[in-house]
Amino acid sequence: MYKAKGWVLSVLLLSIVLVLSACGKANNNTSPAPGGSANAPAGKKINAVFYVNGTLGDKGFFDSAQRGMVKAGKELGINVKSVEGGTNQADWAAGLESLVSSKKYDVVVVGTSQMIDIVKDIAARYPDEKFIFFDDVIEGMPNVYSMLYSQSEGSFLAGAFAALVTENTELKAANPDKVIGFVGGMDIPIINDFKAGYEQGAHYIDPGVKVVASYIGDFANAPKGKELALSQFNTQKADIVYQVAGGAGLGALEASKNVGKYSIGVDGNQNPLYPGNVLTSMAKNIDASVVRALGLYQQGTLAFGTNEVLGLKEGGIGLSKDDLYAKYVPKSIQDKMTDIENKLASGEIQVKSILK
């Protein structure tokens, strides 16, 4: 019996030591923050923290925001840190609050619609802390700045791109039929906002282009996404499909590879998934928007209490133009896209969003 007790005690002690040392490590690389609550603590180094409500490594949203944090740390000379909250939703509120109540950080970067209520609650109780919120709207809180990405503007570019591809004669898989495809996850307003932008973009190039739209019904059924895209390619004679369906949409991208046609990715840069078939992607540039917001915060001009919709001009969205884009997309289309992007940024082209 005594032996057993001794074991339990030593294990307990060991775990306490481990936990303590882990805590110590985490705290080492963050210098104590100034207690001031001014928008921009002039002359002092800003401490920013990114609270991930999930884990890094999703090759999407969170990784993109993380890149933004690292970049902001380098370019703006601020102290940055990221804390992963894990996938258990019940931990998020406590995790975020412990970051905030430690008063080590001047500004907290956090995002996604799942965090709205938690951030609203904590922001109200800690009015001295500043929050930068991405990918959804929080308005009317004096210490929260939120930013939204204009999917209609990004989809306008995707639509214009698709219309240029279907009319192109250099691309060998482009057929004479002026049909382009759209595969959405569900028939819901936010997806239809993508679709509305896509149609406007296609009709800007040529009002005669037909858009075939299909919905999968969820965001996971990849085989169905593939089946719908195959049907659009084979029977509707579409030559390019734009997918807005999360994981299920990857099936649509694969379909373009199987039949040797083209597709457009979404959310992040999906060009490398099937090089030569996924010609470009409509990416939400969360990294760029985080750097921008932190930069404005540093200058003291970030408009807390408001929400901003970031379009092309603010660098919130854009088509992914990597080496694969340069390699597989004909020069004529590239030039035309640059031209359209300039017009969109200058306000010469206005895209209507169905959400407003």
């Binding site: 090759k59 495809g181 996971a220 085989p223 089946e227 049907s231 029977t235 509707q236 999360g246 990857l250």
Partner: protein, 311 residues
Amino acid sequence: MWQALWTQIADLTLIVVLLRLMTPILLSALGGLISDIAGVINIGLEGLMLLSAFTSIAVGAATDSWVIGTIAGVAASVAMCYVMGFFSIKLKVDIIIAGFAVNIFGSGFTVFLMSKIYGLTGNYSPENLNPIPNVVIPGIQDIPVLGKLLSGHNLMVWISLIAVVFCFVLLYRTPYGVHLRSVGEAPAAAKSLGIPVGRVQYSALAWSGVFSGLAGAYMSMGMTSMFVKDMTAGTGFLALAVVLLGNRNPVGIFFGSLIFGLASAVTTIVQTTPGSQVPSQFIQMIPYVVTIVALVIFAVRKKRKLLTQAS
């Protein structure tokens, strides 16, 4: 819309799409059938398919062989079935609860493994995967109608059709089949005749693991070449409905899956018709409405038959 439908029936695209969509439902329904007949209805088909879909693509990509991948997927699924059997047959846990546990486990564990092995959270698509091949029959391939009808289908489509015959023979033409059915009908009577009830039920669960394993491997390595979190999207539950729709017999299940596959194929065609005025939610309902209608027709006919027999 009707014209689009007609042209696709005429050029046999519908049949090709139908066979592709029918295969996973048919395979997992056959698995559900064997377990149901032996009285240990396996409602964990969905979870088993997910497990197999992930295991097969992970092993298949690592070994560069779809054969090893498929075998690994089936093995994982069968192993899970034995665990299920251990809990329900040995420890007397309710089989429905064990099935639910498998579904939840399959969904969670595959995502967990994906994040631990590949560091990914949503989906896994290996670059150089050697997928389950399509069977191209040399001579027939070039004959106009017959070519499209018989050639170019995925190997798993043929396996699923052979599986129907296999199940029929297994259930109705072998002593083992008689044991299975008797164990399901009256376990106590079977036991009194010296049939090892527990062992037969274990084996029935293992069979359901084999078939849902094949279905899972087909989803990740045949229909697509990727694993997406929760990619089965309810196929396992449809398969359970098909087991009942098919009157618990392999041929009936074949026709049940056919009806369901046909409805899904029609859905796909209608959905991709440009300028369709029907709201997409209604179109997505087609397979389920068709199932209910088929069930009603079936029930009415069965009742009439009973009435005529009685009078």
